[in-house]
């Protein structure tokens, strides 16, 4: 015989009808709290009793407002079959909220984190006090074990009292366990919520910081003078800003050049525009030199370029030899002399690139040797002077990185200038447009790539 736990709404209800709660499998499955053991029991088999318990029901629902549980509990109860006469929502109240029905045996919920509990505890105490004189098992929301057999037998008062006490004890223990589970659940939910909020906030702050850095630096320094000086200390950021401005200006000049070429402008006027673009190229090489002095690694990393551009990065910039390949057939028709000049330029830029690449390899190799040198001795005991000496040597080698970057930029600049020298004004204009378009496409490719839908 299973033990049934009945929860009485009030004395009247208890007397008149048998209230059973049982761990019925079908009922259990209808609840949403599979891991809340007894809570299922109490939530299941909810039956709306509209008579004497109306007043209490509202208070119960009020009491159930904590965490994410109450609403679900209420609905869980409502979902359940009402075939049987269970005062189950009362049970819920008692179990979770210590309800208005709690008697003195129940643990005081006031020590829990939930504010409502203290209210309920008070109210339960009031009721308890009022009903003190009456038989506990009979009048208030005492959790009583009612055995159907017992009920039908109608055993002696002593027997009933003993049974009631046992039931009370069991119920108290059960409630305690249940409360612990509920608390754990609530605390976990709260914690997860807090984490989630923090994460969102962090993302927001990061975005704000990024925006502020890109835009706000000028405002912060407040000076309308030489921005590169006022930004000064953060060389990488300063260069990024300068580069962005350079790129805007470059686009403007290219657009002017394009409309000039399309409108078949005269050579003299065209030359002015071509020279303007060439001078503007000189400007970026100057800026790169300044940037390299403050942060050579930033320049070498190419982080100031878009990802696709970075893929083709060579010593902090584009490959001169690549540039001429891009031009390909766009320069035709070329005179023989021009053709030879372009071919030679192609070859010499390639050779210079190779030489610089090999120099970089030698530098890296040399650095590896310095850093891995056995200056610590066979016993492993360190000699600080040796260590510092090796570090000083390594520092010296790192300093030559700036030299290589400088040489690479010189190479790029001189390739452009030599190309300009070989070609006519119109050819040069077309060449600059082709190069610029290629770079734009690379940048556009980067944007597309970054915006692609990720699965």
């Amino acid at each position: 015989m299973q033990s049934f736990k009945a929860i009485a709404a009030n004395s009247d209800m208890y007397c008149h009808s048998p209230f059973y709660l049982r761990a019925d499998e079908s009922i259990r499955n209808q609840t949403r709290f599979a891991d809340l053991g007894e809570l299922e029991l109490s939530a299941a088999g909810f039956h709306h009793d509209t008579n004497a318990v109306d007043l209490s029901r509202s208070s119960i629902y009020n009491n159930l407002h904590f965490g994410g549980l109450p609403a679900e509990l209420g609905t869980a109860g409502a979902e359940v079959e009402t075939g049987q006469q269970y005062m189950l929502h009362k049970a819920t109240t008692v179990v979770i909220g210590g309800g208005a029905m709690g008697n003195g045996n129940f643990e005081n919920w006031g020590d829990s984190a939930l504010a409502e509990n203290s209210q309920r505890t008070e109210s339960s105490t009031d009721i308890d006090t009022d009903d003190k004189n009456q038989s506990r098992g009979v009048q208030d929301g005492a959790l009583v074990v009612v055995d159907s057999m017992d009920q039908s037998k109608g055993g002696t008062g002593d027997q009933k009292q003993t049974l009631r006490r046992l039931a009370q004890n069991r119920e108290a223990a059960r409630k305690s366990r249940l409360r612990k589970k509920v608390m754990d659940f609530i605390l976990c939910s709260a914690y997860v919520q807090q984490l989630e909020n923090s994460r969102l906030k962090l993302t927001q702050l990061e975005q704000e910081l990024q925006r502020a850095r890109q835009q706000g630096i000028f405002i912060a320094t407040g000076s309308s003078g030489d921005q590169s000086v006022s930004i000064g200390s953060n060389g990488a950021l300063a260069f990024d800003i300068d580069y962005a401005r350079w790129l805007d200006e470059h686009q403007r000049l290219i657009n002017d050049l394009r409309s000039a070429v399309n409108s078949h402008m005269g050579d003299n006027d065209l030359r002015v525009l071509v020279d303007a673009v060439m001078s503007h190229y000189d400007e970026i090489f100057r800026l790169k030199g300044v940037g390299a002095k403050s942060d050579v690694f930033h320049m070498l990393s190419g982080m100031w370029k878009t990802p696709a551009e970075r893929c083709f990065l060579w010593l902090g910039g584009f490959r001169s030899s690549e540039l001429l390949k891009i031009l390909g057939n766009h320069l035709e028709p070329l005179t023989d002399q021009q053709l030879m000049g372009i071919c030679n330029l192609q070859q010499s830029s390639q050779q210079a690139e190779d030489a610089l690449s090999q120099g970089m390899e030698a530098l890296q190799q040399s650095l590896v040797e310095t850093l891995s040198s056995n200056c610590l001795g066979p016993t492993g005991s360190g000699n600080v002077a040796d260590y510092m000496g090796q570090m000083a040597i390594a520092m010296g080698k790192l300093a030559t990185l700036e030299n290589f970057l400088h040489q690479a930029d010189l190479l790029r600049q001189q390739t452009l200038q030599q190309m300009h020298r070989i070609l006519t004004t119109r050819q040069a204009a077309r060449a600059l447009l082709v190069i610029s378009d290629y770079m734009s496409r690379l940048r556009a490719l980067s944007s597309l790539w970054l915006a692609r839908p990720k699965d």
């Binding site: 000049g341 010499s348 040489q407």
Partner: protein, 129 residues
Amino acid sequence: MTYQTKSWGSNCPTTRSSSSSTNDPAIVERIGRLAAANAVVIFSISTCSMCHAVKKLFRNMGVNPTVYELDEDPSRSGREMERALIGLIGAIPVVFIGGKLVGDTDRVMACHISGTLVPLLKDAGALWL
């Protein structure tokens, strides 16, 4: 702790004419003598990566330059020659073609891109095509 970029680094224009023995005529004469002795002469430092790059440039073109590693000079004048060259030109490596001064890395690269290096080499007999 001082980082001796002068000894290992190549293009260090800041060290120009800082040394007391820069204008020692014997040293300068020695440099000139060595430079004129071969078609392509490179004054280099063995540990310098930029020197390595310049040497590679010529060798990849098929040129066989005469290289003087100033830090490995058995006669003790290597150090002094280095100082003299840095004083006069500003950096190591320094390249001479046909006995005539071309210059440091900047100059050599610029010459090559502008197309003047190859004719120089051919004139000096260092390059045949």
